[in-house]
Symmetry: D3
Subunit: 239 residues, 6 copies
């Protein structure tokens, strides 16, 4: 029995709300249960120095948590004057995950920046962030295509992410905070809509785990990402 009462392969309620922000070129509020992450895309007509005059574009991400998105208040990173290692690690992961499905020369020499800000946290903020950021990115690129700023679609596939873990000895899908903090092992899986592996990060929390455990987590993740992909398609009106 999971702390949340869910079946082992049952995700939380998923809501992907497109167009949440008025100013962004693409926007999606991603809710995985009580985890709410606002994802905003900004299109910039310039690229980082290492890409100048190459004709290729870039996609990058930034991540943050509102100080009281968490159960206990977390210090504001802007006030402390530096982003934590966890923050940097997560935003690097989100950026890599999105870049895996974008063809940079087709995007052209421009950058799309995804801001993923956690409004409320209850476990799985990075996976909700990736899932919502893809929707925001899709909307921003659709607008570039519509306005003929970009000629062909640089994004052939969708990408989404979910966490899985061994909780009380059993493999479970989409951990919430109370499950995550008591898990024996947990892993984040970033997969494409067609099932390709983009990123896997698995960690033993209490003691090393075996290969069959890992295989069970990957099975769950594939099931979960298939469901998330359907939510993404609905959100962009291609359901």
């Amino acid at each position: 029995m999971r702390p949340s009462g869910r079946a082992p392969n049952e995700m939380r309620g998923i809501v992907l709300e497109p167009g949440f922000s008025k100013h962004a070129e693409g926007s999606c509020l991603a809710r995985f249960g009580d985890t709410h992450v606002l994802c905003n895309a900004t299109v910039e007509e310039r690229v980082p120095p290492f890409l100048r005059n190459t004709g290729a574009g870039w996609v990058t991400a930034e991540y943050g948590m509102l100080p009281r998105s968490t159960h206990e208040r977390t210090d504001r990173e802007a006030a402390r004057g530096r982003q934590s290692g966890r923050t940097l690690e997560i935003q690097r992961l989100i950026g890599r995950s999105l870049r895996a499905v974008v063809d940079m020369p087709t995007l052209g020499e421009r950058q799309i920046r995804l801001d993923c800000d956690v409004i409320q946290a209850d476990g799985g903020t990075r996976t909700a962030g990736i899932t919502g950021a893809w929707v925001a990115l899709r909307i921003a690129i659709d607008s570039l295509l519509e306005r003929r700023i970009v000629a062909r679609d640089p994004m052939a596939e969708s990408v989404a992410a979910v966490s899985c873990g061994i909780v009380g000895g059993a493999p479970c899908l989409d951990l919430d905070y109370s499950e995550d903090s008591g898990a024996d092992a947990d892993a984040n899986f970033v997969l494409t809509g067609s099932g390709g592996i983009v990123e896997i990060q698995g960690t033993a929390e209490t003691e090393p785990f075996g290969r069959s455990d890992f295989d069970a987590l990957l099975d769950l993740a594939q099931e979960g990402v298939a469901a998330l992909t359907r939510h993404q398609m609905a959100a962009i009106g291609r359901g």
Copy 2:
């Protein structure tokens, strides 16, 4: 005629949504038109060093903007490694405004911290922040009173804020971004529910203005804050 089409003494649509956040001890999403500020209160059972062993408490505030809350994306302060002067100025103002209506010895040796985070910006974020933060603070204190952690109510009054400005030669209430950026002068007024002045900040934007202009702005502010006070009372169920 105002850019927004509103009458000179007409505020934007005001919504104060209490209990927005799951984890905070007090919470309010304050909407002044398209300006949305999330205000969360955190109660901490310790005080800054200068108050230790005095028996008195403290109220303080922090302010931030999501990078894409603005029309053009603003750099993330956590990534730049320092808060801007504007940010520090605003959070100091919010803190002072709230402290003006709290009796610190009655609060007792604890700190309440108000996080005011701008989810979407369209002018007047600091005044929406003060107005919403008071609601979050009121809810947090009510909980302390209910649980008998604090014996008597340390907050006798409400406080709210509004901006006014000279737009196209005419004094106007509650400027939105397009009005604010073209104003000849603008001023922020922080007033109590009973009309007392807590803070006045007035600035000439194009050229110095006269005393009668300033008087007209203060008249409008008193009218506006009276309306905001009614919204605050409704939000906490004392309407």
Copy 3:
């Protein structure tokens, strides 16, 4: 009776000493009683990025306190690695106040930077800074005019500042530190030589104050700035 023994509308001894520094393009040591602020103007033949190729100039200010300018030593901001919110707020105020009386296209594409450094503090450092910085700026601009680097005078008016407050129930002009720290309310007024309002910042220190109190403070400020303007004119030899 004021702690200083002065009449309510009596300023401290004012000395504006032009030409204090050997290297600066304009310089003034402003003394308001025991408050001594050294104001130096630097003319730079380049502007901030947002003004490049616009033909318009800029005026900006920086503010600092020597560590032992204060009664108790204040930590050196350079050693702490960041400027305090108070410092940033004050230097933004000084910059805005001076810009209000300068026509930027007439100044041309160059920047004048005003460094206001507090050598000794006894209350009112920001108002002494504005008053002295105007003198330094005037001298620097006069030199640009003399050398025909600037063709017409970009500064039509003077600007000066003074603080007022409610001390022991009575409105008083030009508070020193002991008065300021015990005031019920205090306000800083930045006015032009012809009486126009440039900036007003009023704050309740103990409890909210009424509109008539505020009016009394503004009356005193107008009287005080008129006197400061005469000192400024004498300092630049136009008395």
Copy 4:
């Protein structure tokens, strides 16, 4: 054919040189071919705040690269004033990997800090770091056991790490820099001496990869870590 001319399952020359540093409580220079990482253990008789008075200890790691350990010089992080996201991510990984095999209450209320500094880099610095850091940690703990500061051995198992990747379509073991920079996918595996999984990090570099590819990488990693474990045992004289 690999760029290095090695067979797909062939590691580089591995040398683990214990006792490299004179001052450290445990020390090992780990060489994986031309990648040289100096790992030094420091025993501190105090723990981070969250563990004070719990009786439990802690193991943590820091990672750095000498500026000219790399082909092109890398800026010195101390001079830039902040550690990169990559650095923080790697040192968090090293710390987690070592903690997975240490029983903290048995270690007692003390901290062992592992400094992993890259003297020369040619791919795989994090895996060499983990492998060498375990040796340094083992030596430091042995000394605590000998001197009866710790009563029972808090470390039941060894841990080591290796990278694998898809290079030119083929799964390969222990990538060097030229292989790593051209790989289609790469993964770092942290495994115990008995084959348990501690951490898996796999990333698609060019396009998403399939589950069978991932399985092949894990097979190679198990083979590689078995060999590294033998080197570790020899280094501590338990071969």
Copy 5:
């Protein structure tokens, strides 16, 4: 012939003005010609951590330059967020120089901090700083002795400093900025009132110099410090 027209062994006009600051426990404005350094002493009844509960005290220094103390404006270190290497080097030198003549157990467990701030610079700011800081320190210690907070005089000797250099082939005493910037070699000498060597820092600017040149500089320095010692004694009323 020196650029300044002075004889090779002729110092600039020296003025040591004690009691310059109202708030400091000891204060001296040191003028070496157009170089003006304000030196303020602060007595603190606590010591750095490494001295707690040892009964011994400490003397330390901080150094800064007003941005427009220099011919071209220098960026404000507080705004840049870090002190330059030059600043840290100079304040370390001033602190060491003063500590050389103070007996720390006799001072008792308290710290005296010397702030040396350059109001105007024309070469030799560090030597003026040391010379003036000793006067401020002497005044602060005299006050501790008078009030019987310290029982015996912890400072048996004076210390002062001067720069010398090879200018146009000739050894010269007390270089000003124009001489210093064109010198072939320069050296700073910190000597006690009785002629003991506290610190020597000599540097070849254009090409290496010989031992006889160095000896000539040291001869000049001894002559110069003897004169500075007389100024110091006059400043503290022991001439």
Copy 6:
């Protein structure tokens, strides 16, 4: 009798190992007894802003210590976010010392950067750094000459450094850590191969010292640098 048992004019075992690093344009591991400093030269085809378009080059240095190079672990400067005053002072010294023997117009508009990283510390790291850095610089310049990137040799002379001190009343050469920490005075001497003085830094540690003491230290330094010069020449194959 010295703590090390060496004769007063006896240096530690000196080993200069050229070509230590695979990637650097010039490299030398300098060992003075148990002090080991890795010196790597990087040639960059650009210069600092103040030299652009002057045709002249630059030589600069950076210095760092591995955290556990010292007896007690030293905090990692990259983690603390700033380099200490000691670090900045040492790297400025190394840079100046090398520049004293390089003709910048002959080097041409390029920069050579010397990274001096302390692998193990036992006193005298800055003098070992200068001595080894010269070897690395010589190798880098030889390569520029061989490849005819630089036409004539910009470096006419060698430079090396050694520390001396008064230990137990006697002048001693090349202090190790235990001697250095108990010395009455110590000095670092940077001299050219032909005996010219480049830099002298002498400091009284316990009490001021006399001129004859200083002369004895300089005698020892000349003897020591002569020996170091022979080691340098052997290392570059010109012995």
